[in-house]
């Protein structure tokens, strides 16, 4: 029992550190990839290839003055970024990041908690992360913030139905909510991947995932051209940084979910070992998010709602019905 607790704490700390470092690295990657797609160079001068830019940004964020606006609700204003960051990491707890491996004769399962409702837990935790922007926008006594949080509500009401319904069909096929079971169900190589059986569900899930992580084309919450910075308008320093660590951690989570549920998880592909396979898949989905951001315009809030409720939800329900009939 003690060993389990110690192991879990160590795993939690490792995941926290690695993922927040990766979130920082994600900002670097995003800037680089967007720059290349626009024929620019991106960060260049701090360290080799501008890699230390992350560090410089970190120093900047940590040492910036932490301002709480005069008429803001202090408590909520200060707690809101922590909600976003914390829920993003809590969601990661139920995700098996890598295959089991053995160090010093001790087998480690790189999942903090193998819940039997894993996927529900992940989606639920990520969804509750939207309380961050919602509360932040309402607490800051700023009209852009209010618009930002109103848009958060719209976003939430729109995509959540699609996420749940789209993931339902794969759940019906696998017959379990645990992500490890999902992974094991696709152990038979590339032809076993869920995406061949459920292409529609995959597309729907991807669309909902983009909305969930608040990425272009659904980055309504803080689209500068329209609402300054939306819910993050009044934030500065590390509180602002926490929102973005949360956002990037969410991107990583969605990338993991997509690769686990639809793309065979961490099963080895041919000669590629499992851990490398999942890293490649997650990197691809991360890259896809940046790629889409460079390519596509974003939609209006009403268009998002229209899309989710009038197009995607009927498709998702049809997909579930057809899957059900085929399974019967």
């Amino acid at each position: 029992m003690d060993a389990l607790i110690i192991e879990t704490v160590v795993k939690a700390i490792v995941v926290l550190l690695v993922i927040s470092a990766l979130a920082g690295f994600g900002t670097y990657l995003e800037r680089k990839v967007l720059a290349f797609m626009q024929r620019r160079l991106g960060p260049m001068h701090v360290g080799p290839f501008g890699l230390l830019q992350i560090l410089a940004d970190g120093i900047k964020l940590f040492t910036k003055e932490d301002i709480v606006p005069q008429h803001a609700n202090r408590l909520i204003f200060m707690v809101a970024p922590a909600i976003t960051a914390a829920t993003a990491f809590i969601a990661l707890a139920a995700i098996p990041l890598f295959p089991e491996f053995t160090i010093f004769g001790y087998t480690i399962r790189p999942i903090i908690a193998d819940l039997n409702v894993g996927i529900l837990f992940v989606l639920g935790a990520m969804a509750s992360g939207l309380y961050g922007p919602l509360l932040a926008g309402m607490a800051q006594a700023n009209k852009w913030g209010i618009i930002g949080s109103a848009r958060t509500a719209i976003l939430f009401l729109s995509y959540e139905v699609v996420t749940g319904l789209s993931i339902l069909a794969p759940i019906m096929i696998v017959g379990s909510l645990s992500l490890i079971d999902f992974n094991n169900a696709q152990a038979g190589g590339v032809s076993d991947w869920m995406v061949w059986k459920q292409p529609v569900a995959f597309v729907l899930f991807l669309i909902a995932g983009f909305a969930e992580t608040n990425r272009t084309p659904f980055d309504l919450l803080e689209h500068e051209a329209e609402v300054i910075s939306g819910y993050a308008t009044e934030y500065s320093g590390m509180r602002w940084g926490m929102f973005f660590i949360g956002e990037y951690a969410n991107m990583i989570t969605v990338a993991f979910l997509a690769s686990l549920v639809f793309f065979g998880g961490f099963n080895p592909i041919g000669f590629i070992p499992g851990f490398l396979a999942i890293i490649l898949k997650v990197s691809f989905f991360f890259f896809l998010m940046l790629w889409v951001r460079a390519s596509w315009p974003h939609v209006r809030p009403d268009q998002l709602m229209w899309l989710c409720w009038k197009v995607l939800m009927p498709i998702a329900i049809l997909n579930i019905l057809i899957t059900g009939i085929v399974l019967l």
Binding site: F36, R39, L41, W291, S295
Partner: protein, 207 residues
Amino acid sequence: MSLEKYKDRNIGNQNYKLIGHEAFPQTNGEKFERVMKRMVKGELFVGLWVTVRTMFEALFKGQMHTTKYPFEKLPISPRYRAIHEMLRLLESGHYRCIGCGLCEQICISDCIRMDTRYDENQRKEVSEYTINFGRCIFCGYCAEVCPELAIVHGPRYETSSEQRASFSLFEDMLTPIDALKHQKEYPGFGAVSPNADENIKKTPLAY
């Protein structure tokens, strides 16, 4: 070519072509049809392809557009009008300015101040010459009016300085005497011809 084309001020209907707009959908059925058409047309993937192609061209085909400015500089036109330079006579090394005062007169922002006096040989010499670069609008009139091609615009466009005076004295703008052989002729308006060297004659005093 007739000038009629250019005299026609009725802009808006001659050379413009309207890009074909598809009719805006009116009924819900038409709207649905448009959504479906756009869904299968793959326009979104065209967008993805364009960006990724740009990325590969930028990375591997040298189409990166960034100039790393302080380390690399773009070439500027020879007629670029930056901080002024006072040139010297190529042959004697004496400054070219004859103190005629035309540049001071023509300067539209009134920023050139000069004074002249007779030197010991009873020749006019420039005793004071300053340009107030806080006011200069780099219009180039002074360089155009100068009969001696003495004042020209140089290529020095990085004009941030701790003091306003840093560029503006006669000595600052004058070609240093040891750099005379590097002095380039001003190739812009009113400049001497490229074969000016062949045409140059010694001044009478040299005989």
